[in-house]
Subunit: 461 residues, 2 copies
């Protein structure tokens, strides 16, 4: 078995070293080990056989054509910042690294559209759009390090989703290479369009299992004239969650509503020398944008005042940045404390406080440390399990807690992945959410794209 696979892989490496420039192919464990895992904290067995550093779509086509013919699994990879093991690549796989394809091919301020290669770092696109008073509205917390291709592969959410939608809502069209090396263009450069099945939406969030993205046509939107920020502290996280429900009931549509629990605030304080935890057991950061941002933020503050222990409002961007720093530094602050396992459930917005109470009970039941932050305006919670930093494998109690969190999310009418994808980590629970009929149908769709099942096997579908 090992011999057969090895011969197949040798045939592939021979073909690739013949057909690709020398600097596009890395082999040997030292070179490939850094490409074995993403940022999820999980690791596959072994290292990939090889890494192809594609510099253009032709390299992608060549790699897939040979891999398809020889039935060798290929794992597409952007910056490797994923949090679900979607880019994990162990023994027997070839990694297709797209990070060198990092050009902005077109940025059209008249059509408010950008065409980019998959390896463009998300914040770079946003910065380039900013020169025309535009922005790429999805704002993943990882924007400074993640790539557009990875954002599309996971249909990444972010801080501004409740008002502006997730990555899918900004993707108008895709250039992809199918599993057998065939290039295909989906979608359009127009705002609207409904010709045929929406393969652009189907590919978005497919985690590299249906095709490899070589370019994306993205919608840009005007940068709002004004942004106003509210910081509100609460005694408990559940009270903060209930306050966000009250904002929804008041029919406010904030562009951001980030909620952090007390343990997260304490971790940020430890890492940054701030003094947030002493001010409350939870912090809600609310932003409103547009020409009425100040009015809307004041309305939000009125709703919060009866519920929070303190409420501050600002329309000074520097002051807002200072407030947002706590949120942006939350994950690195937790990573200092131990090995993190980041969950990513979404629940109906009215169930946010109920989900918080469930998570607290689950942490006590399994005696694990869970820190929680939430994109509260769209009901997306990140319970983050922090494990012993020296633990070599994820302990059973952590898996059980994760399973209980997913079960609770489904019971509350929610979903087990809000924005990070299924990847390798959550695959065991996938059929629980989809049900057997939909799971079987999704497998048939996978086969329609990738009959030999070479694209990122063992992830998502």
């Amino acid at each position: 078995m090992t011999v057969t696979r090895s011969r197949t892989v040798e045939a592939l490496l021979t073909a690739l070293s013949h057909d690709l420039p020398g600097d596009c192919l890395s082999t040997g464990p030292e070179a490939t080990a850094p490409y074995a895992a993403d940022r999820s904290g999980s690791r596959p067995l072994g290292e990939p056989w090889a890494v192809v550093h594609a510099a253009n779509p032709e390299h992608v086509r060549t790699t897939l054509r040979h891999a398809h013919a020889l039935r060798v699994p290929v794992v597409p990879r952007g910056a490797g910042t994923g949090l679900s093991g979607g880019a994990n690549a162990g023994t027997g796989t070839v990694v297709l690294d797209l990070s060198r394809m990092n050009r902005i091919l077109d940025l059209d301020p008249h059509d408010q559209i950008a065409v980019v290669e998959p390896g463009v770092v998300t914040a770079e696109l946003d910065r380039a759009a900013g020169e025309f008073g535009l922005r790429y509205a999805p704002d993943p917390a990882s924007a400074a390090i993640s790539t557009v291709g990875g954002n599309i592969a996971t249909n990444a959410g972010g801080l501004r989703c409740a008002k502006y939608g997730v990555t899918r809502d900004a993707v108008l069209g895709l250039d992809v290479v199918l599993a057998d090396g065939t290039p295909m263009r989906t979608g359009r450069r127009t705002v609207k369009g409904v010709t045929g099945y929406d393969l652009t939406a189907l590919l978005t969030g497919s985690e590299g299992t249906l095709g490899v993205i070589t370019a994306a046509t993205l919608r840009l939107r005007p940068v709002p004239e004004t942004t106003a920020t509210v910081a509100a502290y609460f005694d408990t996280f559940a009270e903060g969650a209930e306050a966000v429900s009250a904002l929804t009931a008041a029919r406010l549509e904030p562009s951001m509503a980030e909620l952090l629990d007390g343990p997260v605030l304490a971790a940020v304080d430890d890492a940054q020398g701030t003094d947030l935890r002493s001010r409350g057991g939870a912090l809600l950061l609310l932003q409103c944008d547009g020409r009425a941002a100040g009015t809307e933020a004041e309305l939000g503050a009125q709703v919060l005042r009866g519920r929070a222990t303190s409420v501050e409002t600002t329309d000074d961007p520097a002051e807002a940045d200072r407030l947002l720093t706590a949120r942006r530094l939350a994950l690195p602050a937790l990573e200092r404390l131990g090995r993190v396992l980041i969950e990513d459930i979404a629940v109906p917005r009215s169930q946010l406080a109920a989900a918080v109470r469930e998570i607290t009970a689950i942490a006590q039941r399994h005696d694990v440390r869970i820190f929680t932050l939430a994109h509260a305006a769209d009901g997306n919670l990140h319970p983050i399990l922090v494990l012993d930093p020296d633990t070599p494998v994820i302990p059973d109690a952590a898996w059980q807690a994760a399973g209980d969190i997913f079960t609770a999310a489904l019971r509350l009418g929610g979903t087990l992945t809000g924005e990070h994808g299924v990847g390798a980590l959550k695959r065991r629970w996938l059929v629980d959410e989809l049900g057997p009929e939909q799971y079987a149908l999704q497998q048939r769709i996978k086969a329609a794209f990738d009959p030999h099942h070479i694209l990122n096997p063992g992830k998502a579908l």
Copy 2:
């Protein structure tokens, strides 16, 4: 051939009359003829063999289970208001009429979600949501007569799309029955969620070829506090189109920008006794909404003033309704003049004026009458061919003009269907837009859902 088909259909009718309540099944040409065509102006050959008036999902399952086993084509149908022949059903087909499934099953103001049956009239849902200060944001011009199920089947656009998205952006989840009668639930009740392939998006716009919708979970949004309306007249339609591009360049995001050409204004005048045509060769109706609506409308008016012959602004809803009436009555006004063939191209927003010039040239070249209106903010144009009312078949010149319009749209970077779907009318051009590889892949996806190809054959895919 006819005998074989007839025996198969007899077997199906026997099974359906045994398994369905008597009032759910209509047969005979008098009863079925009204279900042969939609509002597109096209007609199939003959009438459907039978019409099933489904009252619940079980009736849908029963119908599909038998039709699948006997390989009889089934054409799902809502209100029959489609404009592309997507619900056309000729000899040999059975129509699955969903208009009796018209209940709003749930309307949750806390989660801002509605769960509805497919036969709910879109305006009814919007009215029900309005009791909670919410609305169903997609606003097809046909909202008063079309159903939610039909809107989803075509991924209908509407007047507020540029700011609030199309139907797809409001659909969170679907209950569908697959071709073989298997029920399946896709999507979620949460704002975010990315578990598995996005079948909700794939089914939206699939024109009844992948499954039959029995319920939809829809996102509602708050009704804006204020709406402000601007009416601007231009000498020519192209000048109006250029003015809309100038609004985009000024980074305004209107909730509506409807543009009507001079011949449409004259037709409305004839039908309604108004006096619009004398005021200009084109009318732009612009709306801004939200707490800064007045400010934004004034900014829009400033951009327009140098370009338009007259500009009027109002934040009085009654006055705005009066202005919008011209737009809403445009199609009925044209239907008085002859048999209409409604095209539905979308182009990049910067190409709107170029598309208008192409359409004018095409009308002259083929000597056909073309009236044009546009959802200008998202580049969606409706060139409407008005033919002799007594013409029994669509003349070659009209088909050639339609073909030239599609070719022009593709050349300008656009798409041949903006919001009405492909249906029966535009199927001959589908492969031109998709290309052979994507067309083949879409057929494999179709086969994954509907292996016997019974669902709405001859439409879309």
